[in-house]
């Protein structure tokens, strides 16, 4: 292992930590410097991640160990699974930064504060992805709570303060549970590093009962962020945040951190076979299934576009947990690849909702009639992503559902098919009417608070338009070319092969 390989997992978080700290200290009016710093850092991170992807493929071991406590180390390491989330978050950080710069152009609140915390939030996500043991994961998981709170309450209005309070109550509570569970596990077995195939198998005889309790404490702690029912209450509230924050929260940062944690705990702490032996998987799959259906039903009942998208997230993220709750490589493949697919599709939807609100002032679905004519590209991207969410081939969402379904059948859990079918029907029921309104209805005259059509030029600022178009195309290609070299599915196959030692 060269020095560079040993430093790499430290460098990647630092490329957003250092700019974040500098941005805090920049005066408000230094717009150009701030934007250059933001985009430059995101670019450098992308470059480093590309190197890391290449390295992990070619058998490089990226690992940084720092002493944290006597006997405990802060471990940052890149295995195939970390790279999946690292790559996703660095790509999406870049486009979201682009989007946020334009979106917050005229906002009255402090932009240094926003972008400072934005960078810290990405740093925490990267830390979560690269964490090499449970205590390192815990540290970044809690940091994520702290760095996203100021983003949620960014507008400082009473509603956003209230949403922030709810958000904090849920996530701090979940964090405390996670801390207790981690401490308990550490007392039992010591600070073991994440290991593919799990590391607790040897303790089955001695601690089976305690390990079961710990598992559910861990899942509950993670389930808060992953918005598993009944711990999802904060998510629909938190969509009060500015659009780029919602986009990031729902696609890569908070929700994904919880889902990623569940994947880590199931596969690399307990090991899926051991978890199945302890009888832990079925309850997990059941909770996930309930969440999927419940989230979809609730989404159907919302008229506010962002709220509908938020409940859709509740439902969609649980596919990942569902995949983790079924023993067998196919379900694992479907669940893990959904980490990426859901991120690409959901961020597109939130960007589009943001553009819609920004350029027309429309927030509620019933007012969306005919907006396809005003915002053809935005709504085109929205349509692609919505089809993906429903699971229409060849979009990315189809791939995830397909493999989870196959995995369910292979594991003899055919009820999974029923859940998937129900969810697909519900997805269609809450997305297709929107698309119908958008494309096939006549526009209505603007109401109070809405803006009339702009004349000439692009439908919105190019920095608001490029991100959703880009992510929608990514969602399309990762479905269309799912079998191609380096596609998310291809990469996930690599992880699954290593996990099941195929």
């Amino acid at each position: 292992m060269t020095t560079f390989d040993a430093l790499m997992p430290l460098l990647i978080p630092l490329t957003s930590l250092i700019p974040g700290v500098i941005i805090f200290m920049l005066p408000e009016e230094r717009r150009t410097v701030r934007t250059a710093l933001n985009l430059g850092a995101a670019g450098v991170k992308l470059g480093l991640v590309a190197v890391m992807v290449w390295g992990v493929l070619h058998g490089h071991v990226y690992e940084t160990r720092l002493p944290l406590l006597p006997g405990f180390q802060l471990v940052l390491a890149a295995d195939a699974l970390s790279v999946l989330l690292v790559a996703l978050s660095s790509v999406l950080w870049f486009v979201t930064t682009l989007y946020a710069v334009a979106y917050l152009e005229h906002a009255p609140q402090s932009r240094s504060r926003f972008f400072g915390f934005f960078s810290l939030c990405v740093t925490s996500t990267i830390g979560i992805a690269l964490a090499g043991n449970l205590i390192t994961f815990l540290i970044f998981y809690e940091m994520l709570t702290l760095t996203t709170y100021p983003l949620v309450v960014h507008r400082g209005t009473p509603e956003s303060m209230r949403a922030g309070k709810i958000y904090l109550a849920y996530t701090i509570g979940g964090g405390a549970l996670f801390l207790a569970a981690t401490a308990w596990l550490t007392v039992l077995v010591g600070p073991l590093d994440f290991t593919q195939g799990g590391m607790l198998g040897g303790y089955a005889d001695r601690y089976a009962g305690q390990l079961r309790v710990i598992f559910f404490m861990l899942i509950a702690g993670l389930g808060v962020k992953a918005a598993l029912v009944p711990l999802h209450g904060w998510l629909p509230q938190a969509m009060i945040a500015p659009a780029p924050v919602s986009a990031l929260l729902h696609a890569v940062a908070v929700v994904k951190a919880g889902a990623f944690g569940i994947v880590r705990v199931v596969y690399d702490v307990y090991g899926i076979r051991f978890a199945a032996e302890l009888g832990l998987l079925q309850p997990l799959a059941l909770i996930a299934a309930v969440t999927i259906v419940y989230g979809s039903v609730m989404a159907l009942l919302q008229d506010d576009l962002k709220k509908r998208l938020a409940f859709s997230t509740v439902s969609q993220v649980s596919y990942i947990a569902l995949g983790a709750g079924i023993l067998g490589p196919l379900a694992t493949l479907g669940g893990m690849v959904h980490l990426v697919h859901q991120g690409l599709m959901k961020i597109t939807l939130f960007f589009c909702a943001g553009n819609l609100a920004e350029s027309t002032g429309i927030h509620s679905i019933r007012r969306m009639a005919g907006v396809g004519r005003r915002l053809p590209l935005t709504m085109g991207a929205f349509t692609l992503a919505a089809f993906g969410m429903i699971g229409v081939p060849p979009m990315a969402g189809f791939i995830s559902k397909w493999y989870i379904g196959l995995g369910g059948v292979a594991a003899g859990e055919s009820w999974v098919i029923a859940v998937l079918a129900a969810s697909t029907a519900l997805n269609a029921a809450y997305f297709l009417p929107i698309l119908h309104l958008v494309w096939f209805k006549e526009p209505e005259p603007p109401e109070a608070g809405e803006r009339p059509q702009r004349r000439g030029g692009l439908e919105v600022h190019w920095m608001l338009l490029l991100p959703p178009v880009l992510t929608a195309l990514l969602a399309l290609t990762s479905g269309l070319l799912a079998g191609a070299y380096l596609s998310p599915l291809w990469w996930t196959r690599l992880i699954v092969a290593r996990e099941y030692q195929l």
């Binding site: 406590l69 006597p70 205590i135 540290i139 400082g156 701090i172 401490a183």
Partner: protein, 502 residues
């Protein structure tokens, strides 16, 4: 255990006691230069403390006899890792508070009658500092009494500095408690001297038997010290005293003075009273500490004024410290519990000093500290509020911060010792502290359009609050060397379960 001091006969480190005393004398002559002398003394103490820390870390514990007189007659001073570490944290926090005080007590253009003349603060603070340093270096229980009394008297005088009725009555109550506590301690000392004919910590540790006299002495001394350390239900004097004192004094009292009494308890229970300190006896401070955590937090939740909130937070946080006694009674958790208490002491010293200084800035800036009326305070005092936020992270015990390390150690020690209720108290205390800290944050960080009438606060005062907060944050990353230093020397190491010295 104690290495011979190579510098015996020329004990340069005695100047950490003599230095501030000399400065106090100089201030009596050159009143106008008080602040300069104070800062100079602070620099000298900081330098000497750093040198002593290096010496102890390298050569082990050192001791010296003042004037060359040996133990029974002369005064013996000893510095092991614990002493040197406490000296160091006192120097660090004391130095930054001194810088703050130099700005706080600076001569004003328009004579403000509510501001006390600076000439009184500095000599009293020098006496206090000398007493603290002497207390940490004392090797016998009678010297500890003398230094305890000197510390108490200077602290009382500092509390009354503003001469306002509230401050004077709080100081009087503090004086009574302080005297009562020292008296109780002194009776214990007399009992021990009568029974064992020795006062030295080392010889007591060797000769002490669990005789009735020893048990009575332990009870008396512990009760006196717990009173001075404001353990529930003997905490009643602390909130008014800490809230009424001028900001730098509040910071000194909360960060350092109460910790000195706790330091003595730690010394007695772990070093001298080994045989008498049974598990059953240890339960008393433990249970009271647990109640303090909950009671103090609930009181902080309902406080109307910011300084009162912070003072009750001190009551709660001190409660954690006393959990060390029952936890250490379990053999396996002894080392972890001891490290947890020590780390808590230093992390809380930095964080609480930062919070009190920030609260002082609020009081100066707005002329009041009523929490309800502090909406949007961040717009006027961004640096102080940021410092408050960062220190709050440590007080709550979220990573990365010294508070997190301490909390983690406490939770693992409690689980290891099988003391589940105490683990629950630590976790619940964290949740409650989140609630009371964010009760202030949600107002301070709210977005308001109307402008406050805010006086300018000296930049040195804003930045010193932030500096202390950043120290608390940095402690989250420096645990191994710091814990290693504190572990040099104390006899408990022989049974410690923690990793070896680095």
């Amino acid at each position: 255990m104690i290495a011979p001091d190579p510098t015996i006969g020329d004990p340069w480190w005695v100047w950490v006691i003599a230095g501030p005393l000399a400065a106090a004398c100089a201030m009596a002559v050159f009143r106008k230069l008080s602040a300069a002398f104070g800062l100079l003394a602070g620099l000298i103490i900081a330098g000497l403390a750093a040198r002593l820390i290096l010496l102890v870390a390298e050569a082990g514990a050192v001791k010296t006899e003042i004037g060359g007189w040996a133990a029974p007659l002369g005064i013996e001073l000893m510095a092991d890792g614990l002493s040197a570490g406490m000296l160091g944290i006192t120097a660090l926090v004391g130095m930054i508070i001194s810088i703050y005080a130099a700005a706080y007590f600076r001569p004003h253009d328009g004579a403000d009658p509510s501001n006390p003349p600076p000439t009184l603060f500095w000599p009293l603070w020098m006496f206090l500092w000398a007493a603290l340093n002497a207390l940490f270096l004392s090797a016998d229980i009678f010297n500890m009494y003398v230094t305890l009394e000197l510390m108490g008297l200077s602290a009382v005088a500092l509390t009354a500095l503003s001469r306002e009725p509230a401050a004077v009555s709080a100081a009087l109550r503090y004086l009574l408690v302080s005297l009562l506590g020292s008296l109780s301690y002194l009776m214990g000392v007399a009992l021990l001297y009568g029974a064992f004919g020795t006062l030295g910590l080392a010889s007591l540790a060797a000769e002490l038997t669990p005789a009735p006299a020893a048990l009575a002495a332990l009870a008396l001394m512990s009760a006196g010290l717990m009173m001075k350390a404001a353990l529930f239900p003997l905490h009643f004097w602390l909130p008014p005293a800490h809230a009424a004192a001028p900001a730098p004094v509040s910071a000194l009292l909360s960060a350092l003075v109460v910790k000195a009494s706790f330091y003595l308890l730690l010394r007695l229970w772990f070093d001298a009273f080994g045989p008498a300190a049974t598990a059953a006896a240890a339960l008393i401070p433990g249970v009271l500490g647990a109640v303090a955590v909950l009671w103090g937090s609930v009181q902080a939740l309902s406080a109307q004024r910011l300084k009162m909130l912070v003072a009750y937070s001190t009551v709660a946080q001190l409660g954690y410290l006393f959990l060390v006694f029952p936890l250490a009674a379990a053999e396996g958790a002894r080392g972890t519990a001891w490290c947890a208490a020590i780390y808590f002491v230093i992390a809380h010293a930095c964080a609480k000093a930062a919070v009190f200084l920030a609260a002082g800035n609020v009081l100066i800036g707005f002329g009041h500290d009523r929490i309800e009326e502090l909406r949007g305070a961040v717009q006027d005092l961004p640096v102080s509020m940021f410092g408050f936020a960062v220190a709050g992270v440590s007080l709550i015990g979220l990573p990365p911060s010294g508070g997190f390390i301490a909390k983690w150690l406490f939770v693992t020690a409690a689980i290891d010792a099988g003391q589940w209720p105490l683990a629950a108290v630590v976790v619940a205390g964290g949740l409650l502290s989140t609630a009371y800290i964010f009760r202030f944050f949600s107002r301070a960080f709210a977005h308001v359009t109307e402008k406050h009438s805010c006086c300018r606060v000296h930049p040195a005062m804003e930045w010193s609050a932030l500096a202390l907060a950043l120290c608390a944050l940095a402690l989250g990353l420096t645990a191994p060397p710091v814990i290693g230093l504190f572990q040099v020397g104390p006899p408990l190491l022989e049974t410690a379960a923690m990793g070896g010295r680095p």
